[in-house]
Amino acid sequence: MFGKFLILALAVLALAACAKPNYLSPQTQELADVAESPKACSQQLVSQQRCYSLVWQNVPQESQAASFVLNFYSLFDSGLPLDPLDTLTVTLWMPSMGHGSSPVRLKKISDGVFLVDRVFFIMPGEWEILIRFKKGEELIEQVVQKITI
């Protein structure tokens, strides 16, 4: 009896290898966070005739709401802050899991300057910040900022 039991138990253990964790180091996270904030106006939005920068006010962390500022500038008059031509929306999305997060709050501070707060990533992982420009329901342009939480 014990022999049959032992054969089965060994077969199962042979199939299941021990997990080999490959942990993300804290240092990598900090560097990644900084790297995801583009230099001023490094991203062009052709349809909006603008460039933009994303500046974190407080760096997103697990279980803590963050906020960032979106600055839009004219593509033709360097340094002139201007609103986008179309309606701005911001969505948090986790592509690997196929779901988003709770809605962010978007507030215009001044011409070309928008505060995005209540930025809450509901779980650690690889996320996307979808910065979109819409005319009614029609999506005109979208840029994706990748970030690892």
Binding site: M1, F2, K4, F5, L8, A9, V12, A16, A17, C18, A19, K20, P21, N22, Y23, L24, Q61, E62, S63, Q64, A65, T91, L92, W93, P95, S96, M97, G98, H99, G100, S101, S102, P103, R118, F120, I122, M123, P124, G125, E126, L130, L139, T148
Partner: protein, 274 residues
């Protein structure tokens, strides 16, 4: 997909009530990188499961979970509600009437999971701590095999399920979520000393990627994880038994795109012999 509410012994009916507490330990990204959770995400589940033999070799059963989820940190929140209710129909296609030394008893089953728990797609709480279920209607097909050799026992179950598309119209998404197929395979073994049984099990789960089409488009990544468990059970009188299970999802396999937890479960079970 749980197959716990399935009779694989010689009993005609069984009832189980369990209370478990699990804490998220680690998140594994789609590229296989692990990250320890800094803040607590604790789920307590009270589950009622029952199964009944009818028409000799047929059986049906269901499982109803009620759960409370508590998320810690600056955005802490607690919520309670029903999880996903499941129902099962089984047939003993491989009886063990002559107690063959090797041939196991085999029970085939069909499982239906109803998306009764609020899912991440319907979440209206910051941080999604009000999610209690996976959110998909699912239909599964599988088989469980069990064998006793004196004081030793072993069982295995394999199952494949199809989760169906879900239309979502929320602030995060207007579109369709397509979950795809999933499979699970489990092995368990135990040894009994009079009324005490000690056991161990491994359960492997694979879910196809969840793709999304609509206001957001993404292809998703497959999810894999393995749950290892150690269990102890003590047979009381009149078919009653008490059990304790410790489970850990960080020990075996190559998890990917998964949230790994450690949990403790206490249960009472009542069985009625044929």
């Amino acid at each position: 997909m749980s197959v716990a509410s399935l009779i694989t012994t010689d009993d005609k009916a069984q009832f189980a009530a369990s209370l478990s507490q699990s804490r998220v330990d680690t998140d594994v990204f789609s590229n296989g990188v692990w990250q320890k959770r800094a803040n607590g995400d604790v789920t307590q589940v009270l589950k009622i499961e029952t199964a009944l033999i009818f028409a000799d070799r047929y059986q049906y059963g269901f499982a109803v979970p009620v759960q409370t989820r508590r998320r810690e940190g600056t955005e802490s929140a607690t919520s309670s509600g029903f999880g996903d209710v499941s129902a099962q129909l089984g047939y003993e296609f491989l009886p063990d009437w002559d107690y063959n030394p090797w041939r196991p008893k085999g029970v085939g089953f069909v499982t239906l999971v109803l998306p009764t728990g609020k899912s991440i797609y319907e979440s209206d709480q910051s941080g999604g701590s009000d999610t209690q279920g996976r959110g998909f209607l699912a239909l599964g097909l599988g088989a469980a095999f069990s064998k006793f050799w004196g004081r030793y026992d072993a069982s295995t179950a394999l199952e494949i399920h199809k989760s169906f598309d879900k239309s979502v119209n929320s602030s995060q998404l207007q579109g369709v979520v397509r979950p795809g197929l999933g499979e699970s395979l489990s092995f368990s073994a135990g040894v009994s000393f009079k009324d005490l049984r000690m056991g161990a099990s491994l359960a492997y789960v694979n879910e196809e990627a969840i793709s999304v089409r609509g206001s957001v488009n993404s292809d998703g990544s497959p999810q894999q994880y393995t749950t290892a468990s150690l269990s102890g059970g003590y047979a009381l009188s009149d078919g009653w038994a008490a059990g304790l299970v410790y489970s850990d999802q960080t020990l075996f396999g190559s998890p990917t795109n998964a949230t790994l937890s450690k949990s403790v479960l206490a249960s009472v079970t009542k069985k009625w012999a044929r």
